[in-house]
Symmetry: C2
Subunit: 669 residues, 2 copies
């Protein structure tokens, strides 16, 4: 009988011969098979579970019989009794090889497991958190060998886990002695990036958490993630309290220019919000904030600077110089975050004065550099950040769209909230509208709508509603390609009526009347022209006249109907099925950087490759802007869009004119 046996691991396919009696975990490690463990093979953490595949495996040349693994020993029995073990599962650390076996490593036992992703997310997330837990048994102090408690901890981490030359955070040194004694010299150490011990708990600590934060000018959103599974255990958000210093970025920067020390107040405000979010997320997940060991953050340049305690005034005027465009890795306490005292923070890099760490997050979430498809990433806010490229080249710019898309500067505009009109359809013959409001599933022409909305009311139009109503009015020929409301259409419906020297359209009559004025159309035209001009500037620089794929990032992107956005000419023409929402891609980017530390280096390298275009000084931006004022665009063709909707004919002089003879393919919902 042989004194060794063949072991084959699936799905990796790694194989090797080991002496009989070798623990399965040890065999896996020496073959480089990815199996998790916190307790280091003591049979208490249960992370290293595997399943034996029994039977004859011709392709491996193996008969994997049940008795080729050792029976349950005391360690496994104890684990089974205390915590339960699923049928067929074994603790690989406590199971010995007694003959040829095929061992399956389930995904939940892998360190580098795939994280379940959302449908809108472009890339898979593989788990490789910066903070890892390691259970160790530390030698007790001995007056004959007066090594310090910290040295004996480091010795144990090197002996049991092969972690060499680890540094120690001061907060660790400060807390170490009572923890070692409370744990009876058995503790779990949190090691950051295989470099530094940042925290320690008595006994076995199985899970620590990280927080991925998107610091938006309006909203701060955080995902609390289990760093051992990648799972999001709580998602929380709140208004950015900096709003009291100004609604938008430039008013906050102005506040600082007017009020010396204002930057300190704004920094304190956002940091306090982060602490509140952390406390709220921890409470929702039923954990302590001190269980949070790592934080990643994204935000636009002004948010980024204020978060780091940098006065953002230089971003308020040309040449829009960033203080730093490097990623910032630091202690969370340096940002006054009240998490674990040893917690770390990682702030993604900014790209240019108007293209921030939020865009770096979008790039990390979408990875346009990994494919051939020429992709435009568009993150619409008060400024639109645009990235265009593929594996060959990446361009980025920011375009000053202003707040019109958020309902500001629109007479009946409002933020997206219950009562706001978000969907609009207009009959092209009668010009009669129907609409839906947030908080009610019924269309306004359906029975029961009045009752259903009696409580919330119909209070205004939010961003997506404005886009729809204007696009529908354009398709119904009420709004001309140059953006004027056509007074001639007053003959078709009394909803089109004079208003001073221009015309207006009454979307809703009665007490809570809602009207679209000429000034509203102009405001949206300016915003959408800025957006499309920015995209076209990058297309021009790239030497292309079409993009193959458009991804809309941010809350706005997930609410608008891409067809209407295209009709209005926010976006260049594109196969509509290739235009989609990327969800909160900036936040996803923060989550990727949180869960997979290798992505930090990747995004740092990637943003260095991005070519930045400053729209403010690009001579062609103004020309592009003027062309893009027309609906959908003065000169660019929209062949893909024309296959889906009945676009008015271009007018003489570059605009469009109604193609009266053409059959309307647009199907009203």
């Amino acid at each position: 009988m042989a004194d060794d046996a063949l072991i084959v691991f699936t799905p990796s396919g790694r194989r090797g011969r080991f002496p009989l009696g070798t623990p399965v975990l040890q065999a896996a490690r020496s073959l480089g098979v990815d199996i998790d463990s916190v307790c280091g093979g003591r049979g208490i953490c249960g992370r290293c579970q595997v399943t034996q595949a029994e039977g004859e495996f011709a392709k491996h040349g193996i008969v994997s019989a049940a008795d080729h693994l050792s029976a349950f020993g005391v360690v496994e029995e104890k684990y089974q009794r205390l915590r339960g073990l699923q049928d067929g599962r074994r603790l690989s650390c406590s199971t010995q090889i007694l003959g040829d076996v095929v061992i399956d490593v389930p995904e939940t036992s892998q360190v580098h497991r795939q994280v379940v992703r959302k449908a809108v997310e472009a890339v898979d997330i593989e788990l490789d958190a910066a903070v890892r837990l390691h259970y160790v048994e530390v030698a007790e102090p001995d007056m004959h060998l007066p090594a310090s408690d910290q040295r004996r901890l480091l010795d144990a981490l090197e002996r049991e886990w092969g972690l060499k030359d680890l540094a120690c955070d001061l907060s660790l040194t400060q807390s170490l002695q009572p923890v070692l004694r409370k744990g009876g010299w058995a503790v779990t150490a949190a090691v950051y990036d295989e470099r530094e011990v940042v925290a320690v708990w008595p006994g076995l600590k199985e899970t620590v958490y990280g927080m991925a934060v998107d610091v938006g000018s309006t909203t701060v959103a955080a995902h609390l993630c289990d760093l051992s599974t990648g799972e999001v255990v709580a998602s929380v958000g709140r208004m950015n309290p900096q709003i009291r210093f100004g609604e938008d970025l430039m008013s906050r920067v102005s506040y600082i220019m007017m009020n010396p020390g204002g930057e300190i107040d704004q920094t304190a405000a956002v940091r306090e919000a982060l602490n509140e979010l952390a406390a709220q997320a921890a409470a929702e997940a039923g954990i302590e904030v001190t269980d949070i060991l790592d934080v990643t953050l994204v935000g636009n340049p002004v948010m980024h600077h204020l978060l780091l305690g940098i006065n953002p005034v230089e971003l308020g005027g040309a040449p829009f110089a960033l203080a730093t465009d490097q990623a910032t890795a630091l202690r969370a306490s340096e940002l006054e975050l009240k998490l674990n005292p040893g917690a770390r923070a990682y702030v993604l890099p900014c790209i240019a004065g108007h293209v921030g760490a939020d865009t770096a997050g979008v790039i990390l979430a979408e990875r346009p550099d990994q494919g051939e498809t020429l992709t435009a990433l568009v993150d619409v806010g008060t400024n639109a950040e645009i990235v265009l490229g593929n594996r060959e080249r990446l361009l980025a710019c920011s375009s000053p769209t202003g707040p019109a898309f958020e309902g500001a500067q629109i007479c009946c505009g409002q933020r997206a909230a219950p009562g706001a009109i978000e969907r609009v359809r207009i009959d092209p013959t009668t010009l009669e509208p129907r609409f839906r409001v947030i908080g009610c599933d019924l269309w306004s022409d359906q029975p029961g709508f009045a009752e259903a909305t009696a409580q919330i009311g119909v209070t205004g139009i939010c961003g997506s509603g404005i886009i729809e109503v204007l696009a529908e009015l354009f398709l119904a020929r009420v709004i001309k390609a140059d953006g004027t409301i056509d007074g001639a259409m007053a003959a078709v419906s009394p909803r089109v009526r004079p208003e001073g020297v221009t015309f207006a359209y009454d979307l809703r009559l009665g007490a809570q009347q809602i009207t679209i004025y000429q000034t509203d159309v102009r405001a949206i035209q300016l915003a959408k022209a800025a957006l499309q001009a920015g995209i076209r500037l990058l297309m021009e620089r790239m030497g292309v006249d079409a993009v193959q794929r458009i991804r809309l990032a941010g809350a706005f992107g997930s609410h608008i109907d891409v067809k209407y956005a295209t009709v209005l000419g926010m976006l260049p023409d594109c196969e509509l099925s290739n235009v989609s929402s990327a969800g909160n891609a900036a936040g996803t980017g923060a989550r990727i950087a949180l869960l997979d530390k290798r992505k930090r280096g990747e995004i740092e390298a990637l943003v260095r490759r991005v070519e930045k275009i400053e729209t403010a000084i690009e001579p062609n931006f103004q020309a592009q802007f003027v062309e893009a004022m027309a609906i959908p665009h003065r000169s660019a063709p929209y062949p893909h869009l024309a296959q889906v909707v009945d676009l008015p004919e271009p007018e003489a002089g570059g605009g469009r004119r109604e193609r009266s003879g053409r059959r309307r393919r647009e199907t009203q919902q």
Copy 2:
């Protein structure tokens, strides 16, 4: 005519040929000649001054003629006009080689210059500060190339100074933008350890400072040093405010055990004292505290732990486990020190539970490992730290001497302060004493003493005075080898008189009577026995019965007369000329680590080599202690001492007895 020339630098002797027109500084750099510069060759800092040696140099084969260097150009003339240039001195950056020359680099122009040392200091200090200044001209921001301000600073530091991959302290990033603009894009950056930019000033900044601190249980002392010259520009000290929590270490640890949170108060107290010292030193030197960029600190284990914010309770009882025995490099702000926001701190390593970073400082100052001479380093305080060794081997221990040497536990004892008796002589025939007090240069038997001391009084005896009076009483046969005051001597002088069941000696009669009681002798015997037993324990471990050299560290060591200390048997026998004060060696060690960063790694490696002996569990310590209770010692011979003083004969049974026939060689001062 050749188009290149030979240049020889003295004192280094480095030589090379360079094209005519090469600046002298550039030639020096490419030959690795050590010439300082802050401004990077712009002729404004004046650090790179050299002198031409004119004449024919046969050994170099050179005629170094005056016109072999370029004449003064505009840069040198401007420097000469604004700041003056000593006769014969040239700015090497602005002087070109026009023919063969011999160039002398004065020590003041060298980066790694020798620091002027004090007489008591054992080792030379070579300057190589961790913080270096670099003047750079930073590119202005350009919207076409939107690199951040920080990136352009780093680019300039790499381009002009070859400093690659520098990290940036967050405080630097926060302050950078206004400084760059104030300096018109010319700034001086402080770079720590060639790794990280920690501060930046507009324009040329020529000097920054560091502070070396000895955190003693009683006194905190700090030296403020110019990091470009190594010069001490201010020395300040104050009581350790922790004294309000307890006079000695153990009472402070007890306070913490009794008062939860007491460690936080003690940490705050010592950190506040450090801030006060920094402010005071800066004021004395006429600089800003923000000009302080680096701090090094030493202290005993309890001071070390409290400084770092570590609860020292584990040091209060066996097994005396240190939290950490590693050197601690961190931001000064982590210790709540209010210096430059980017300032760094370096805390020397502790060695064992009773042998602290102060002893590491003593070792660094004395470097017993660098010679063959078997040296004992003795730092006397409430505990005595003892290091014994040479290049072969280093041993260390701590011995619980208690506070008797500081005047505590002595009836008429007091701290060393005006009015305290510090010197004593006793006539061996009449037993009449004479003495000197601190604050008066006269002996008590000299005319005018009474008037001179009328103000300050004669208030007690300080540590060195106690040692002298006891040693003199022993030499006068009033105190016997076993420490008893010999009642038979009452027949010689009424100053020896009964006091209860024992005897006493009246050192001073009258209103402010000062008496030596039997209990005083016992207290000093216990202290000195602990000290010598500690030294002998190390000697025994080392396998030697004599030491070749003794260095006494600390304030006590610089005040006591080594002869009397040896007579009393504090120290083993040694050639008295080889017993000397090392001054505040712990503080000197902190200063060395401050001025020469390479010494930090050296002391870290060195303390790992030290073999630690824990006196509390050494079986032989008690036996050594009993032997050392006798004066000077029960069994060990004192041949070197016997050549200098008339030692009483050993008594039968191991003590000593008066050798009545021997002529007294002791010369009374």
